[in-house]
Amino acid sequence: MNNRKRDIAIIVAIGVAGIAAPWVAPAVTTQLAFLWLMILFALTWDINGGQMGYNSFGNVLFFGLGVYACALLQRDSGLSYYVALGCGIGLGALVAAGVALILGPAILAIRGHYFAIATLGLAIVAADIASAWEYVGAASGLATPVYPGLIEHRTRFFYYLLFALAALTFLAVRKLYSARFGLAINAIRDDEDKAEAMGLHTTRYKVFAWCISAFFLGAAGGPVGNLVGFIDPQDLAFAGATFGVWMVLMAVLGGKGTLWGPVIGAVVFHITQEVFWTYLLGWQRVAMGLLIVIIVVFFPAGILGWAGRARARPKDPAQPAPATKTAPRPSMEAER
């Protein structure tokens, strides 16, 4: 119970910090908004990748769908700004979840690395179609409507939207992992055939998990498109080489298959990335590639996995560190 109290205290502290941040450090509000986006990315990826064992490289597809759905509704519906934005975010979330629901049964039946490549292909198909289709602005992109207010209010407004979405995602995911759903998708990760033999409707769980992921990613699309103000199909909406890989990387960096791992990974990664952007202008993406290789090759268990092993070592020096593929789950310990 003590762990649970500590968890809640940390969540409340982060929440207070998140609310206060734009007033404490107004100069970096946009970067902080992207920090919440990164946390959301890592958390939603980890539902499939970490907890369910389906390593998707194409979850950015859902984000892009959300970006475009919201921007198109804002452009074509003729509603007032806030109403259109609200409807757009809802539409983005529903479209993304709907696409996941339709594609899910076929795509999620593919396993292992074939699944990874298939999802990678899906994201690139979407990017190519978005950059060729005239209705959505083709390769020249799409501008979002002008915010009716001051520029700093605009940044703060979208900051809070993204903060709320990230917080909502975290709480939803936390709730789901502590319920039957969490056990079910972990069973699928550990041995899918056995889970199915035990009477689990694996396809339903898999598709549902993908839909949850897609729902939050789609919802995040609208605020991000409006925060940036201009939607480029390859560099913002369906940015496979940046957002698409980053979401995988952040979860791996923090420790995939854990609740807090993606959050920690996203924070560390985002700060590193901003530092690269500031000091290595032009070469930041090269450095990013190098960073990916280093993280994956040397820290495959992530920060939490590494910390867990470091903590386990002094207790029993004779026992070698547990060589589990996934990091230990603090959230499970919290329940006991």
Binding site: N55, H113, Y114, A116, I117, I292, V293
Partner: protein, 299 residues
């Protein structure tokens, strides 16, 4: 879609598409064979495959600019890429061989991004192509145009493929590579240094990609961001053909070339890559459905 009716009115255009598809497909097959080699021997899916092609292309391009004919440029690119592959193996790849497949995909994805961005910084994002001084052949009364350089590229791709088969079949190292692919543990027991075999296989794959890249620069164009399309094309060809099946790889490669040319013509060039990747997804889903009916899975 209006081009579809054009195709029915003038079937000779279809011949044109098939010929250009086959000519370019041989190069796809070459890259795919390298990927199959790596996959079969080391159990690694190399996402950076296309980037190796890109680097090979740039080597041949800059050599040609410095006055070295591509006939010599391509072997030089292959040798340079062999060394590059050895260096990459010794620094990164050996660490990920016995890891989870996911780790190897993600690590090679990182290498792919690294090389692609490095290419962008060093060579610029312009589309480059080697000027060829060879004429074009006009067949069937001028309706079918075949640039001779593409025929040269096709023949060279087949030659490299044939050399590879001979190498794998008859040389000591080639036999060691095949033995390791069959059973790495047994190969180790019999005194084969599998680590060196892995290094040689990886470097060999890089050399193949380097040569293929030179052919791509000669017959098509190169650009820092073209890598991923080649990677996924190779992946698709390997899935369709299976590992270690050279005739299958050539057939699937040329088939993909033809389908791609036809799709580019019918749907418009801007949808061509989208079509390729959609085809990849459809093939994966379709193959999986067939296997699932037999209670087997793509693993």
């Amino acid at each position: 879609m209006s081009n579809l009716s054009v195709l029915f009115d003038a079937p000779i255009l279809l011949v044109q598409l098939i010929v250009s598809g086959i000519l370019v497909g041989a190069i796809f097959a070459l890259v795919a064979y390298g990927m199959a080699l790596l996959w079969g021997v080391m159990n690694i899916i190399n996402i950076a495959q296309g980037e190796f092609v890109m680097i090979g292309g740039y080597i041949v391009f800059f050599l040609a600019r410095a006055g070295v004919s591509p006939i010599f440029g391509i072997p030089i690119a292959a040798v340079v890429m062999y060394g590059f592959g050895l260096a990459l193996y010794r620094s990164v790849i050996w660490r990920i061989i016995d890891q989870d497949m996911f780790i190897s995909i993600l690590a090679t994805f990182g290498i792919s991004i690294l090389l692609q961005q490095l290419g962008n910084q060093l060579f610029g994002s312009d589309i480059r192509t080697l000027p060829s001084h060879l004429p074009s052949l006009f067949l069937a009364g001028g309706m079918v145009t075949v640039p001779e350089i593409k025929i040269v590229g096709f023949v060279a791709a087949l030659a490299v493929g044939a050399a590879l088969v001979v190498f794998l079949r008859y040389t000591r190292l080639g036999q060691a590579i095949r033995a390791t692919a069959q059973n790495a543990r047994a190969a180790r027991v019999l005194g084969i240094d599998t680590d060196r075999v892995y290094a040689a296989t990886f470097a060999l794959n890089c050399a193949i990609c380097g040569a293929a890249g030179g052919l791509v620069a000669m017959t098509w164009f190169i650009q820092p961001y073209l890598g991923l399309t080649y990677t996924l094309r190779s992946f698709m060809i390997v899935i369709v053909a299976g590992l270690g099946n050279l005739p299958g790889v050539i057939l699937a490669g040329t088939g993909l070339g033809v389908v791609e040319q036809a799709a580019g013509f019918i749907l418009g060039a801007e949808y061509q890559t989208a079509f390729v990747f959609l085809l990849l997804v459809v093939i994966l889903v379709g193959r999986n459905m067939v296997l699932a009916r037999q209670r087997r899975y793509l693993k």
